[in-house]
């Protein structure tokens, strides 16, 4: 059974509907990333799970029991906020101790002199102190315990926020873009560290981010959230290879998937603008569609096989381990543009502005209907991408690709 279950969750602020029927289940110990563009409602969802925000309808369950309406402290969750939200007037040690002090001591026991009067309080304080030291050691900030947050670097503050979250051993970690205030190098190393920490503790974690790299490298599964809805839930691989929705397809992958207007006429998939034939299908659905091809599934060649599409390079980018060629589709329809990912060595074989032929790798086509949902069709060139695509990363110009089927 799922550890966290979110069922048909709805939330609006006044007239703006922010969450529209969210369904999600998260397993015990899982690291789930919620990935979506800014403003899609990720933070709102996280805050509802934490109990910091109320929802209009639906349920949040943890370990089978309904959490709706419970205060945050009754839910046993810990949150790492984007701004870290450390108490500026407390030392690091006091910041870490606060969640334990608030939970494990009564109001009377918290009075300053109680440690001298009551041996119970004294023992509790010693316990809390050692818990603080353990938590600090886990994120390697033991030497910073006496400092105030203003005396720490961004990365150190981030660690303090993590330590404050894990000190209580909560049932669930909620992290809201915790790395967005760090520089690129630190972000990459902290990514790994957070994942290792989460795996070691075995605590379920929900990680909100708008950064696909973070989501793909850290999470066991990713929930793509677009416009208040969950567009797709799956592993990074599943989402990349078989996006269920055109928004998910465009949101994951850099550079973005090429997207062309197309149509199906009697089993033939064509580009809408030029009428070029891209694939054949036995499934009889006619009408306008959208055709997606990831840049690495586009193959550029210098020799023109029969039926290949002539394209003109408009711009090239060298990125070290790979190169990108931006092209316009030639032959009377230069307003269709796309991008291909190549081996950097292939750049030398291609003169800037040269007209070359474009094909795509078998199974590299993704078809979406007018509402943006993935069309699962069978037929020539439409076999699942995962089986053949990306089998080797080189997309050299001299490779033997499968030509696009001709027919202007």
């Amino acid at each position: 059974m799922a550890h966290i279950q979110i069922q048909d969750l709805n939330k609006s602020f006044g007239d703006t509907s922010v969450l529209r029927g969210i369904d999600l289940s998260i397993h015990e110990g899982e690291f789930l990333a919620i990935l979506g563009p800014s403003g899609c409602g990720k933070s709102t969802l996280l805050r509802i799970i934490a109990g910091l925000e109320t929802h209009d309808s639906g349920h949040v369950r943890m370990g089978g029991s309904i959490m709706d309406g419970l205060a945050p402290k009754a839910r046993d969750v810990a949150v790492v906020f984007q701004s870290y939200a450390l108490y500026p007037h407390m030392t690091v040690a006091q910041n870490l101790a606060l969640p334990l002090v608030m939970r494990e001591t009564t109001r009377v026991q918290r009075l300053p002199f109680m440690g001298h009067i009551s041996s119970v309080v004294k023992r509790k304080r010693v316990d809390i102190q050692s818990a603080v030291e353990r938590a600090a050691a886990q994120v390697r900030i033991a030497e910073l315990l006496d400092r105030k947050p203003a005396q720490l670097s961004g990365g150190q503050r981030q660690r303090v926020a993590l330590a404050r979250a894990l000190i209580r051993k909560p049932k669930l970690f909620l992290l809201d873009e915790p790395l967005s205030n760090l520089d690129a190098t630190l972000r990459a190393s902290t990514r790994t560290e957070i994942v290792q920490l989460q795996k070691r503790l075995g605590t379920t974690a929900i990680y909100v981010t708008h950064d696909q790299t973070e989501a793909m490298t850290m999470a066991d599964r990713i929930a793509i959230m677009i416009d208040g809805r969950v567009a797709q839930v799956g592993t990074a691989r599943e989402i990349y290879d078989r996006p269920k929705d055109v928004h998910a397809a465009l949101f994951v992958g850099t550079p973005k998937m090429n997207l062309f207007d197309g149509r199906i006429d009697g089993g033939v998939v064509r580009l809408a603008k030029t009428g070029m034939v891209l694939a054949h299908t036995a499934d009889a659905i006619d009408g306008p569609i959208r055709v997606g091809i990831r840049p690495e599934h586009v193959v550029l060649k210098t020799e023109f096989d029969e039926g290949a599409i002539p394209v003109v390079e408009t711009h090239r980018e060298f990125l070290g381990s790979e190169a990108l060629i931006h092209f316009g589709i030639g032959g009377g329809a230069p307003d269709i543009s796309g991008v291909a990912r190549l081996d950097p060595d292939a750049l030398d074989k291609l003169a800037p502005g040269q007209t070359v032929s474009a094909c795509f790798r078998p199974g590299g086509l993704h078809l979406f209907d007018q509402s943006g949902l993935r069309l699962e069709l069978s037929g020539e060139n439409l076999s699942p991408a995962a089986t053949t695509a990306l089998s080797d990363k080189e997309t050299a110009l001299d490779e033997r690709p499968i030509p696009i089927i001709a027919g202007i």
């Binding site: 805050r47 910091l52 500026p88 007037h89 606060l98 105030k148």
Partner: protein, 318 residues
């Protein structure tokens, strides 16, 4: 490497460079000096004319026996200060002022803070309540004092009518020696609370909402816990400012005393500024009044410095 150094760039175009640099370099320097002074100068002139010069004059006069309207003036050394040490009225006045300030400052601060939190947490009508509380601050104190005089009138005032209605004895608020200072303090608190409230509202607005969220997750979610964990500590800098402003304001009390009590009854509401005013402009003892002023200002200066030191240390987040 083949990177071009600045010198090699310069050698390519030698002729215009030095003169251009020379012409360009001097004016910005001069201009920025000039602009800088043109900003500072008006302030310096005003400061010397309206603060430093009068202060120096007052200090100088305090060593003389000058009386308003008399042509002769002679240097008397510390005579005025010696007289001050033994005089009865300034001592009563100082004691009253301190008692008054000790009543007004904490209560104005607490009431203002309470109002600010109440108004900011109210779901609606915030702008209305803020303006309503701020009204006494923007009204003329003397005019308000006259309204209070009517309200507190021993026989005609609504306050006494209300007391009688509840079966309590009527009070002579402004002519009872035991009641007059607390009554004046009450009027000042009523006036100050709107001011401190506005300052605290600004302080409250600068507290990040995420801190309250963090506190709620950490288990501090009851109002009192939220207040002590987040609100109060983060209002620290505002608090320092408000306390000092309120202390100085209450030490400077004058209008209500002059309008309502004239220092009476039997000097029970005699305060520093009123004493200085009387000595100087009713008894024309300008030299003596200046000596009192110097001591008073020195005391306020010291108080402010000590306050900043003590309170700043406890709110510094570094």
């Amino acid at each position: 490497m083949n990177a071009r150094s600045p010198s090699s760039l310069a050698s390519e175009r030698p002729s215009p460079a030095p003169s251009a640099a020379g012409v360009l370099k001097a004016p910005p320097h001069l201009a920025s000096t000039f602009i800088g002074w043109s900003f500072v100068l008006p302030f310096l002139v005003a400061l010397s004319m309206f603060v430093l010069a009068p202060t120096a004059a007052v200090i100088a006069i305090s060593f003389t026996d000058w009386q308003l309207g008399r042509d002769t003036i002679s240097f008397v050394g510390l005579e005025n200060y010696r007289a001050l040490l033994t005089a009865r009225v300034p001592r009563i006045s100082a004691a009253n002022t301190i008692i008054y300030a000790l009543m007004v400052t904490p209560l104005s601060v607490i009431l203002g803070l309470w109002l600010a939190i109440l108004i900011e947490s109210s779901p609606m009508g915030r702008a209305f309540f803020r303006s309503a509380c701020f009204l006494p601050v923007v009204s003329t104190t003397v005019a308000m004092a006259i309204v209070w005089e009517f309200l507190l009138h021993p026989t005609l005032g609504p306050v006494n009518s209300a007391l009688l209605l509840f079966g309590l004895p009527a009070q002579r608020f402004l002519s009872d020696a035991a009641l007059v200072l607390p009554t004046l303090a009450f009027i000042a608190i009523w006036e100050n609370a709107g001011y401190t409230m506005v300052l605290f509202v600004a302080g409250l607005k600068s507290i990040s909402a995420e801190l309250y969220d963090a506190a709620a997750v950490d288990g501090a979610d009851r109002p009192w816990e939220r207040f002590w964990t987040v609100t109060f500590p983060l209002l620290g800098p505002t608090m320092v400012f408000v306390v000092i402003i309120m202390l100085l304001r209450s030490f400077r009390v004058f209008e209500t005393v002059a309008t309502l009590t004239g220092g009476g009854p039997r000097r029970a509401s005699e305060v520093m500024l009123y004493t200085i005013y009387q000595e100087g402009f009713q008894f024309f003892q300008i030299g003596y009044a200046s000596a009192i002023t110097v001591v008073f200002v020195a005391f306020l200066l010291l108080l402010t410095l000590v306050n900043f030191r003590l309170m700043d240390r406890s709110v510094h987040y570094k």
